[in-house]
């Protein structure tokens, strides 16, 4: 379903979030950020005022290209400042101009961007990602987005014929890495009321023939998210998960080469719910599943009993 199907309430909430710099001062870690949804989230979060963005992907060159895009964004650009001043003398004008300059400098921030090339299927790389991120941000982290995933073999064989090594590789990247990232990011998130957002899929609730390893990894993400949310209830850290729906991304095109990608949403059309969940507006939202392209984001409370 395209973004046009979202209801006005969503639009209003997000418009307000963007206008008020909903993510101002927040430090964010986004995996799978070199393309598709991860790239778009990096750009959108910067526009929403994030103070620091750590972006992670395997492809170093593509990641650095995204880093340059993010660095080109000045969050708060276009801000209006108003000052009250009595202007009678040249000194008054100087004072007023200095005040305007100071306020603009405060409102127009350049985010700190850290690009980390890593293969998240390797636990040592997960530790490196967390250490580098926390070192850059002096131990601060507010938002973790577990977006990285791999589709596995393409074309996708049935489970009947799925080689063990390839099956393990998909689970390592798509399921074990998010588990480890949450575990290792938790010390930083827990004192700051952090938000964890896991990216899931329709294939994580329905078993489609041919989507074997990927789908099973997303079934795992659904369970991982529910369990973390239950265990962290009351800790101040919230865990929610988002099915972005069909998107026109390189990974999706590779998975379904016979389909018409123009029918799928652009990643830019599905980021609203992520901004909302990362913002303080959602600081009471924990343990819920969202569908980015549905009315009211298709929220379903799937929280287990803690």
């Amino acid at each position: 379903m395209a973004a046009s199907a979202r209801n006005m309430a969503n639009e209003d909430m997000v418009a307000e979030s963007m206008a008020t710099q909903a993510l101002k001062g927040k430090y964010v870690l986004i995996t799978g950020a070199s393309q598709g949804l991860g790239r778009q989230l990096s750009l959108t979060f910067t526009e929403a005022g994030a103070a620091g963005i750590a972006i992670v992907a395997r492809d170093k060159a593509a990641l650095e290209a995204v880093q340059r895009e993010v660095e080109a964004i000045r969050s708060g650009a276009g801000s209006t400042v108003a000052i009250a001043a009595q202007v009678q003398t040249a000194a008054d004008i100087d004072r007023a101009l200095n005040e305007i300059k100071s306020q603009l400098e405060q409102s127009i921030q350049r985010p700190q961007v850290v690009a980390i090339a890593a293969d998240l299927s390797r636990p040592a790389d997960v530790e490196r990602v967390i250490a580098t991120t926390l070192s850059a941000f002096d131990g601060r982290l507010d938002v973790l987005i577990n977006n990285a995933s791999c589709i596995g073999l393409s074309p996708m064989p049935y489970l009947l014929d799925y080689p063990l090594e390839d099956f393990k590789n998909v689970l390592s990247t798509n399921l074990i890495a998010p588990f480890l990232l949450i575990k290792k990011a938790l010390p930083a998130l827990i004192g700051r009321g952090g938000s964890i957002i896991n990216v899931t899929s329709d294939a994580g609730v329905t078993g489609y023939p041919g989507w074997g390893a990927y789908g099973i990894s997303k079934f795992g993400i659904e369970g991982l998210s529910q369990t973390w949310a239950a265990e962290l209830e009351g800790s101040g850290v919230r865990v929610n998960w988002v099915d972005p729906g069909d998107m026109n991304t390189a990974m999706h095109r590779a998975a379904e080469p016979g389909e018409d990608p123009t029918q799928w949403a652009d990643p830019a059309e599905v980021t609203d719910v992520f901004v909302y969940l990362a913002s303080d507006s959602a600081n009471a939202v924990n343990g819920q599943r969202f569908q980015a392209q549905e009315s009211n984001w298709g929220v379903r409370a799937l929280r287990s009993v803690a």
Binding site: A131, S135, G191, G234
Partner: protein, 365 residues
Amino acid sequence: MNTLSFTLPEALAAKEPPERRGIARDDVKLMVLRRNGAVQHSQFKQIDQFLRPGDLLVFNASRTLPASLKGRVTTFSSSLEAPALGSSAAAGLEVRLAHRQQDGSWLALLLCQTDLRQKENRFACSMYAGMQIDFGQGLTALVETRDQRIPRLWRLRFSLSGNALIDKLHQLGQPIRYSYVSAPWDLDYYQTVYASVPGSAEMPSAGRAFTWQLLFKLKQQGIDAAHIVLHTGLSSYMDDALDEQHPASEEEYFISEKAAEKINQTRRRGGRIIAVGTTVVRALESVVDAQSVVQAGHGYTRLFIDADHKLEAVDGLLTGMHEPEASHLDLLTAFVPPAQLEPAYKEAVRQEYLWHEFGDLNLIL
């Protein structure tokens, strides 16, 4: 220097993390030592029985670095102490990072890459100011000078700095491990669950046994937590004579306004400040003022604490079991006189407590 005398049998070294010897992370022993000398033996996971609502646990949130690097000497600067190039000059070195300096350089222990159990060989290879060490993957370091206070340490300047260096250390480095461990345990095992700021050469291990479940439970019971950061240096310079001197290394600390306020508020309300680790004692006692108020700040400390030191900032200490010659034992005598500490330690040996970073714990109240 401490005057404790006890013998630590080799068998009492914790060779594995508790999780790898079949028990839970928090399922280690706890010796509770009152400052009047009374001793109780318990389990760490029952620590709440010895704490009160209103007490504050202060943790060191420093995260352990993979601070051991293997490198090869590649070049010598002609202007400095160039040695006659011999076979030893081309040999590999193990570099153990100790402290990051304010100017971005590092103090590090250089060890000949040999069997470290052969003590006489540890420093038998050439080490000179001006030599360059190549660690691979584009990382090199120039050895600048020998440290004046702790002569086994050298000042190194890496070819990378900041995040790029942290990233590269995690690609090339290993945690610093000592000979008593039974396997090359991953860096993961050398982290506390709450570690958030990378920078320690060795794990601040007193808090290792805490699990999130236990931390949540304590909070529910009104036992709050505050976090400071002190990046630890090396516990051993691999030189027995030097280690026995307990040279006070200079360690970097950060105490946030939030942590300082929590600590001061706890004391005003009559709660106790329980330091989790000697590093926390060192940091807090470095920043406490004459009115016993803890000040927020960032700095470097060389404070040496022993029986002559009057504790102003902390009321209790959770710590590991320390070796007879360890400087940490000196610090413990600031809490408990040696005459009471010694029988407690001897009893811990009799009860087969385990020593070192994966071992059992001692709560002093």
